[in-house]
């Protein structure tokens, strides 16, 4: 039992994560691996030789989520409440409970404008196609 004159420790506020990569997210979680966050994989259509076929956009940002969902005590991380609990339970029973994984938490649409084989112009919208934010799920 703590001696009576010990200062009551300020309860660490477990605020939920911000969904943009901030300074903290670049801190390597442990042995150089990065915390869960969104990465960009940009492919330009002109590089693919499609310039005369796809009018817009000029390329496709195929974002993806990657990074660790370890539970670094004392630092903010991209995780929902549930994921936090799951991580703690995973630490207690690693063989029974998998740890949370880094996955999209928000998706956004993408529109593509292109010529079809009859030289008609088509605007195609794809809902929930591009990763907007990532988090531990």
């Amino acid at each position: 039992a703590a001696s009576p004159n010990t200062q009551r420790k300020k309860k660490h506020k477990n605020d939920l994560p911000h969904n943009r990569t901030g300074l903290l997210d670049h801190t390597p979680v442990s042995n150089g691996r990065q915390a869960c966050k969104k990465h960009e994989l940009y492919v330009s259509f002109s590089d693919l030789g499609w310039k005369d076929w796809v009018l817009a956009p000029s390329g496709y940002s195929a974002y993806y989520c990657a990074g660790e969902c370890d539970y670094p005590l004392g630092s903010c991380m991209n995780a929902t409440n549930h994921a936090l609990i799951q991580l703690v339970v995973h630490l207690i029973k690693p063989d029974e409970v998998p740890k949370a994984c880094c996955a999209p938490t928000k998706l956004s649409p993408i529109s593509v404008l292109f010529y079809d084989d009859n030289n008609n112009v088509i605007l195609k919208k794809h809902r929930n196609m591009v990763v907007k934010t990532c988090g531990c799920q």
Binding site: A56, Y64, N119, V121, L123
Partner: protein, 263 residues
């Protein structure tokens, strides 16, 4: 780790991808974006015509809305009175039909017939569009026929022109075809710019029965019901400047999964 490898490959040495890897990448993106097969090399594109210019404006408006969230997309003047029933003519946020469209297709008219000054009245002009590559599993939510009106000499600017668009439903040998009125607009003879007519009914009809696509017919009359030649009042046909040729735009929405009717 696969993505990591991919990221490295794309960023650092995309051009050094082997032909096969490049083909893989193309196939991957086409399937993700739901685009049709590999692109066919197009003949060198002449200056873009009216349909691509309109669609590019629409693309920017839709993309702006996607970036900022609903109700923000700004429609440039060239598109603002698109899709009549949902958008008013001032610069509105995107209308529901445009925002909710999964596919928008533009068609340039293939065939034009005209009865003009060399024949007896009434004068008219017909436009037929090749709608063959329609997206499967999507329904038409709106369609419009867009035609450009220029100013012509000798036109009394304050005269009002009544322009009506009909669907040609059934052709009859040696007789007038069966027509169904789609839309009508009254415009001052001194007005110049794009006119957009609502042809949703006809477009729906052609989607369900492609063989019934006999095109549309356009008449112009004065206040005292005198028929005027379409070309004479300044309506631009397919021989006009490329950036002002008539075309059709159709908005489609993916059919929602058919919900089970309540028992």
């Amino acid at each position: 780790c696969v993505c990591g490898q991919m990221e490295g490959m794309v960023h650092s040495s995309f051009r050094r991808l082997s032909g096969r890897e490049k083909k893989e990448m193309q196939k991957e993106i086409l399937s993700i974006l739901g685009l049709p097969g590999r692109p066919r090399p197009h003949p060198p594109l002449r200056p873009p015509s009216s349909a691509p210019l309109f669609m590019l404006d629409l693309y920017h408006a839709v993309s702006a809305e996607e970036d900022e969230g609903p109700g923000v997309g700004f429609i440039p003047e060239s598109v603002s009175h698109a899709v009549l029933p949902t958008l008013s003519t001032h610069t509105p946020p995107l209308g529901t039909v445009v925002s909710e469209a999964d596919t928008v297709m533009s068609f340039v008219n293939l065939v034009e017939h005209e009865r003009d000054l060399l024949q007896s009245r009434p004068y008219w002009k017909e436009f037929r569009f090749d709608l063959t590559p329609l997206p499967q599993g999507e329904t038409v939510t709106a369609a419009e026929f867009r035609i450009y009106k220029t100013l012509t000499l000798g036109q009394r600017a304050n005269r009002t022109l009544h322009i009506s668009v009909y669907e040609i439903q059934r052709e009859k040998r040696h007789r007038e075809p069966e027509l169904v009125l789609l839309d009508m607009q009254s415009v001052p003879a001194g007005q110049e710019g794009w006119l957009a007519f609502d042809v949703t009914t006809a477009s729906n009809h052609w989607l369900l029965h492609p063989r019934s696509n006999l095109g549309i017919r356009l008449y112009v009359e004065t206040e005292d019901d005198r028929s005027l030649s379409v070309g004479w009042v300044g309506l631009v046909g397919r021989r006009g400047p490329r950036s002002k040729q008539p075309f059709m735009v159709t908005f489609f929405r993916a059919s929602q999964a058919p919900c089970r009717p309540p028992r």
